[in-house]
């Protein structure tokens, strides 16, 4: 029984390690906390600290999901979203907007540009962000 449970856990870890996540976040404290949490949960995590590097990594690494901030240096989150959606290779990659801006106009703009969902950082725990990622990637 225990062996079976261990095997299931291992299988679960393997399926998450297959999933490559890209975090585009300029606040290094938040970027580090989120990436360390997701790595500890078994995901393969890449990080970028500005919009320009974010777009380059998205197009080069083809992640399974992108966690994207809006207020970013060089290119803001909306520009990143537009450029990633405009590329054939990345147009279907789920993009979770993770920001502290939360007015109707911010959310509307993000949804219009093709964000999969929109989370306000201060309202979400790391565990809840991870649950959302799993839900979108269909990981049980």
């Amino acid at each position: 029984m225990l062996k079976c449970r261990q095997d299931l856990h291992l299988l679960h870890q393997i399926s998450m390690a297959d999933k490559k996540l890209l975090i585009i976040e300029d606040d290094l404290v938040l970027q580090k906390a989120l990436s360390e949490y997701l790595i500890a949960e078994g995901f393969n995590v890449l990080s970028a600290g500005d919009g320009e590097t974010g777009v380059q990594m998205a197009l080069g690494e083809l992640p399974d999901l992108i966690l994207l901030d809006i207020v970013l240096p060089k290119k803001d989150g909306y520009t990143v979203l537009t450029e990633v959606r405009a590329n054939e290779a990345t147009k279907h990659v789920p993009i979770v907007l993770l920001t502290n801006l939360g007015s109707i106009s911010d959310v509307e703009k993000a949804i219009e540009l093709g964000a999969t969902t929109y989370l306000v950082k201060a309202d979400y725990k790391l565990e809840e962000v991870m649950m959302k990622v799993k839900e979108i990637l269909n990981i049980k």
Partner: protein, 328 residues
């Protein structure tokens, strides 16, 4: 209904009040200035008519017509300036809320995530006392976060910018989780908290987090204002196409003369001050606005020293509302 509509219309048209709220002074409202302009036009036309019939001089008619045009331009200019000033200040207020939201919430997020990371992944080597202190810091951070959220939500409600990210939810499950989360507070306050729900599923399309705020607010209020050895009962029903939530307590109740002000922002009942319960007076204002923006309504009945019943309803899901990520 008519009263509400009248108030709404009054608020929309009363740019002078809006300007005062924004901290700028304008001489008069555009609607008043339009009336003044109308009166001037009528008087001027009468004046020109009198001048042209009494004086057979084209110069005098031209001078009087020019004076009227100058007057009209001056009043028109005042109207435009008033509208521009208010629009500019509204834009500045909106930008301030946006910047404040980002700048205040970022350190809160940093603190919350760091503590969560520490408590969930790196507790090895920490003593019980250290864990207790970290946990208290975490609670204080959450309290600060809630306060900032409340203040920003009020600003967004006032600007009509409160975003709802709707998804399909089972209302019964939401109520069960909210009640479960408040059981420890009820126990500590010596209050019996029970739920009566004969339905398994009531599907609604709502912003899960916002409705959780409404539920938490009503449940904690009922517990806080029930003075020990009391009972708080939550009832969930279906009524005319709506999911209906009712919370009944046998607490201190609300004085009759304060009931009409209860859902106004920053209003705190004398009972809350007397009972030394903490709060900002924003919870019910925010709750009412969230419920109304979700298509429902919030109301209450209360008798002082007997107890209160708070209700809110949410429209049940219809076929056209199916689908995630609906924004309202």
């Amino acid at each position: 209904m008519m009263l509400k509509l009248r108030q709404r219309l009054y608020d929309e048209l009363n740019l002078k009040k809006q300007a005062a709220d924004l901290g700028i002074s304008v001489w008069q409202t555009p609607s008043f200035l339009f009336i003044v302009m109308g009166v001037i036009i009528i008087s001027a036309m009468s004046g020109i008519y009198i001048v042209s019939t009494n004086y057979d001089s084209p110069e005098i008619v031209v001078i009087s017509e020019s004076l009227v045009v100058i007057l009209l331009l001056t009043v028109g200019n005042s109207i435009i300036r008033t509208v521009e000033e208010v629009a500019k200040s509204n834009k500045m207020k909106s930008e301030f809320v946006s910047i404040a939201s980002h700048q205040l919430k970022t350190p809160i997020s940093e603190m919350k995530w760091q503590i969560e990371l520490l408590l969930s992944k790196f507790t090895d080597g920490l003593s019980e006392k250290q864990l207790e202190i970290i946990s208290e810091v975490s609670h204080s951070g959450e309290k600060m976060g809630r306060l900032i959220n409340d203040l920003l939500d009020v600003a967004r409600i006032d600007q009509g910018q409160l975003a709802l990210i709707n998804e399909e939810m089972n209302f019964c499950t939401m109520v069960d989780s909210a009640v479960m989360a408040q059981q420890s507070l009820a126990k500590a306050s010596n209050v019996e908290l029970i739920v009566t729900c004969n339905l398994k599923k009531l599907e609604v399309v709502v912003d899960r987090r916002r409705i959780a705020v409404v539920l938490d607010n009503l449940i904690t209020n009922a517990i806080k204002y029930t003075d020990g050895k009391g009972k708080v009962e939550v009832i969930v029903e279906e009524a005319d196409g709506f999911a209906q939530f009712c919370i009944r307590d046998n607490g201190v109740g609300i004085p009759r003369n304060e009931q009409s002000s209860l859902c106004q922002k920053f209003f705190r009942s004398n009972n809350s001050i007397k009972n030394e319960t903490d709060g900002t007076g924003l919870g019910l204002y925010i709750a009412k606005n969230i419920v109304e923006q979700s298509g429902g309504k919030l109301w209450f009945k209360s008798i002082e020293n007997v107890g209160s019943e708070f209700y809110f309803s949410l429209p049940l899901m219809t076929d056209e509302k199916k689908g995630l990520g609906i924004l309202k």
